[in-house]
């Protein structure tokens, strides 16, 4: 008997197609993504070049004061350091557990560590794994201290600098820091101690990130 494709009904053809695809699936291996991933090095390089991967400490401070909740602030330092001091609204995620699904690929993620190196490495890891909105807090916690907690007004400052300092003084006090003029602190205590982790004056935004949505049908 001569076999021809045209003698089959549409249903039989579809059954053959799905049967073949199903049979081949046995040999195709796992459909889940492994630990390797592809990166677009050109794209990453251009992001670094244009410095659009940075958030300045002042910008972040503004968001926290405004009570924004559209970002996840990730502290990459050890638990001990995190417990000692962390930027309000931050959550502690260590580098090895970054990809464990605590962060969503569509979220705006801001990374910081002591300086900039660890957050830059974490930035690369996340970017390579398809996380879209990953940013680095410029200068890490060091710059946060310099710019936000302990802003300094030089003795020979221009009027514009003085005006800007007045603003950062308020920001600093919001976060429990101590503004400095020249060598001396503006406040009564001349030390540059990190603020305690109690809620600073003013409205304290919630520490938790946006609530995870329930999904499914």
């Amino acid at each position: 008997m001569k076999f021809s494709l045209s003698s089959l009904t549409l249903n039989q053809k579809l059954a053959i197609v799905v049967g073949v695809l199903g049979f081949l699936a046995v040999f195709a291996g796992s459909p889940y993504r492994g630990f390797t991933s592809k990166i677009d090095s050109q794209e990453l390089a251009s992001i670094v070049e244009k410095e659009i991967d940075h958030i300045s400490p002042e910008e972040l401070a503004g968001w926290i004061i405004a009570g924004n909740v559209d970002y996840r602030l990730v502290d990459l330092r050890k638990e001990k350091d995190f417990a000692e001091y962390h930027i309000p609204t931050a959550e502690n995620i260590l580098l090895p557990t970054l990809g464990d699904g605590q962060l969503e690929r569509g979220e705006k993620i801001i990374l910081y560590s002591v300086g900039g190196i660890h957050s830059a490495q974490a930035w690369f890891l996340l970017k390579a794994n398809g996380y879209k909105g990953v940013y680095i807090l410029r200068g890490g916690l060091e710059e946060w201290k310099d710019k936000v907690l302990f802003p300094r007004l030089a003795d020979n400052a221009s009027p514009q600098e003085v005006a800007a300092f007045e603003k950062s003084k308020l920001v600093s006090q919001f976060f429990g820091g101590t503004p400095q003029i020249g060598g001396t602190a503006v406040a009564a205590t001349p030390t540059m101690a990190l603020p305690k982790l109690e809620a600073p004056s003013g409205t304290q935004p919630k520490i938790s990130g946006p609530k995870k949505k329930k999904e499914g049908c």
Binding site: V18, G22, F23, A25, G29, Y32, R33, G101, G106, K132
Partner: protein, 201 residues
């Protein structure tokens, strides 16, 4: 661009509602075109005289399964980002039985009742009203049920993970079951339809 699009941030919450609306309308349209706006057609399923529901649903399942498997194999979908509902074995089994009983009694399942109502069928509207009453009642008595509701939690498991076999083998087995089911379903249909005719005459 990789899927799932929402998780990769192609669109945000607002647009996702529009996308859901479009998909929902499409789903309803194809349910209606498959004849699922009619309670008679749907109920024939349970008397084995018309297995269209079984065939359409199983077709959807294996199309989605084979499609997802091969698309993720080709790197176009990141399966690890596709949401898997957590399993609560006994509550979900009981829930399935209740839904099945409601299906036979009312003639619709929740989705098809919307289709029936959208095409102006009165029983569809009644069924929708029943759904709303049921939701309210369930919500009100939920504190009494929550112990049972959360029992036998197994987490987000899948058949391949649970039994420790490869995804490919599960895909192939489900395809075999589907093809066997379609062939067997058609045979059963003919048999029972003939019987039903005999009984009528």
């Amino acid at each position: 661009m990789n899927a799932p699009f929402f998780k990769f941030g192609l669109f945000g919450d607002d647009v996702s509602l529009i996308v859901a609306f479009v998909i929902g309308i499409g789903f309803g349209f194809f349910l209606e075109r498959a004849g699922f706006g009619s309670a008679r057609k749907l109920c024939a399923q349970f008397y084995f005289t018309d297995l269209a529901v079984f065939k359409v649903m199983f077709t959807a399942i294996i199309t989605a399964m084979v499609g997802l498997f091969w698309l993720s194999w080709a790197g176009l979908v990141d399966l690890s980002l596709v949401y898997v509902s957590p399993t609560y074995l006994i509550p979900q089994t009981v829930g399935g039985l209740i839904l099945g009983a409601g299906f036979v009694i009312g003639g619709y399942c929740p989705g098809t009742s919307c289709v029936a109502a959208a095409t102006g069928k009165l029983d569809g509207f009644v069924y929708l009203g029943g759904i709303i009453v049921g939701i309210v009642v369930f919500g009100e008595v939920f504190p009494l049920l929550s112990g049972f509701y959360d029992s036998t939690a197994m987490g987000q498991i899948t058949i391949p993970e649970y039994f420790g076999i490869s995804y490919g083998i599960v895909v192939f087995l489900v395809v075999l079951v589907a093809i066997g089911g379609f062939a067997g379903g058609s045979w059963v249909e003919k048999k029972f339809a003939a019987k039903a005719k005999e009984a009528q005459s």
